[in-house]
Point group: C2
Chain length 247, copies 2
DNA sequence: CGTTTACTTGATAGGTATCAAAACGCGTGG
DNA sequence: CCACGCGTTTTGATACCTATCAAGTAAACG
């Protein structure tokens, strides 16, 4: 068990010969990601290509109705899941950030249920359908891990529905800011365009703009540039509490 | 392979000795339900109790936050999943009908994500957590089936969000009626109380009442009694189309 | 049959959509 | 570097939809 060509982090674990296994083992989000459940030896047995994909803001990761061939784990950035309702309006269902898995319906041979579009610069791992088919056969833990991912998606959907779809515009906007702060990787939070906000909160662009302007005046957030915001959590939480109190 | 004590439907298949297996094999919704994936022999190996539970309208099946010990498959009736948002309002997330599986988060050792309450008279099968734990170990197909169920719940959640949470009250009410007709077992559709409608569509009781009254006048539905409705699909679909056209 | 609860209807206020126009940010090419 | 043009955001005025408050009516229940 020579540790010569093993990266320091893995010293003491078996050497990995499969180059892809190396990449996955080194991945910063492995413990949160789909294969976190696999031990390193199992990782080494992956023969299928796990590709890393980079997307610019606005680029499509996959589109609704398309036959799904892969799921994707977000390594960095924010992806939005959106679909058109029957009146032809674009509705954003939820967001995917670091560690989230998107398009799992592909694993079941189904077509994608929504469009997935990059909101920021995004890096995802592509997990081909066949890979999971293979691995679930003898890795029971992987099956459980996938179920946990489905449940997480469901929890996200439920929370989106209860908190972002009801109440006055101001309150929904506050909740959105709270949610966005979950996806921050640094100090600055990604601030969606007004069009995106309106599609998330079911309001017009104008109302989104007005509401946000008001919150800026109240000191809930500052926007150094168009696409980033500094959110003052204490002020935000205070505003939410006052909201709830008088409602 | 004597067929003497085997019910006609199963002639030609191995005899089932486990009494519970008999009940499941005879279940009308088996092909849609969680164990549809299991062959009859596997069914026979179930040692755990699968209880049938009957609920009256308004009765609680399980409640949010409670440590989940079982999932439930709906055999008949309609169950609502609801939770309180942070402003203390009750929000109905979605409905569960014949063949739907609820509370699957219990299978993962998580607590329930929402309250489950019977809307009509309801019959469900209780699937203890341990049962699925046991079976997924050697029944790969069961694991896949459960994943399909999670995906189905997610699809439901997404549809609810895109179609029932956006647009004017009248349109949301029309979509609700369309959805309710999916849960009908006969001619008559279960008609929720105005309070329930308001919690599903994020509107007040008064608006729900007014909107529905208007649709009755337009001949979209008739209500023979308080809790049932006859929906005229052609009129309904027409109304939805006209909606979309002028929007 | 009275009492309670759910539903309906009306009048009004308030929030949001709509329509319109101005200000701003940003990339491009002069 | 600045001017230009385009898309986005902001702001204003008005109309419309829905919430709210308030009665009144119908249905459920003891």
């Amino acid at each position: 068990m020579s540790a010569a060509n093993v990266i320091p982090l893995l010293a003491g674990t078996p050497a990995l010969f499969n180059p892809q296994a190396r990449v996955c083992a080194e991945c910063g989000i492995r413990k949160h990601a789909l294969f976190g459940a696999l031990d390193l030896t199992a990782l080494d047995q992956i023969h299928v290509q796990i590709a890393t994909i980079r997307l610019a803001p606005g680029q499509l990761l996959y589109s609704a109705q398309a036959p799904g061939q892969a799921a994707y784990t977000v390594r960095s950035g924010v992806v939005r899941l959106e679909r058109l309702n029957e009146r032809g309006e674009r509705r954003i269902l939820r967001l995917g950030g670091r560690g989230d898995t998107l398009g799992m319906e592909a694993m079941l041979g189904q077509s994608y249920a929504a469009d997935a579009v990059a909101c920021t610069e995004v890096e995802v791992c592509r997990l081909p359908r066949s890979l999971v088919d293979e691995l679930t056969r003898d890795q029971v833990e992987l099956a459980r891990d996938m179920m946990r991912r489905w449940q997480r998606a469901l929890d996200d959907a439920d929370e989106w529905l209860t908190e972002l779809c009801a109440g006055p515009a101001r309150h929904r906007m506050l909740r959105l800011l709270l949610k966005l702060s979950e996806y921050a990787d640094g100090q600055a939070v990604w601030l969606p365009s007004r069009l995106e906000m309106s599609a998330m909160l079911d309001m017009t662009i104008e109302t989104a703009s007005r509401t946000l302007a008001q919150l800026k005046r109240e000191g809930v957030l500052e926007a150094p540039d168009q696409k980033h915001a500094l959110i003052h959590m204490d002020v935000l939480l205070d505003a939410l509490r006052r909201d709830a109190a008088e409602a």
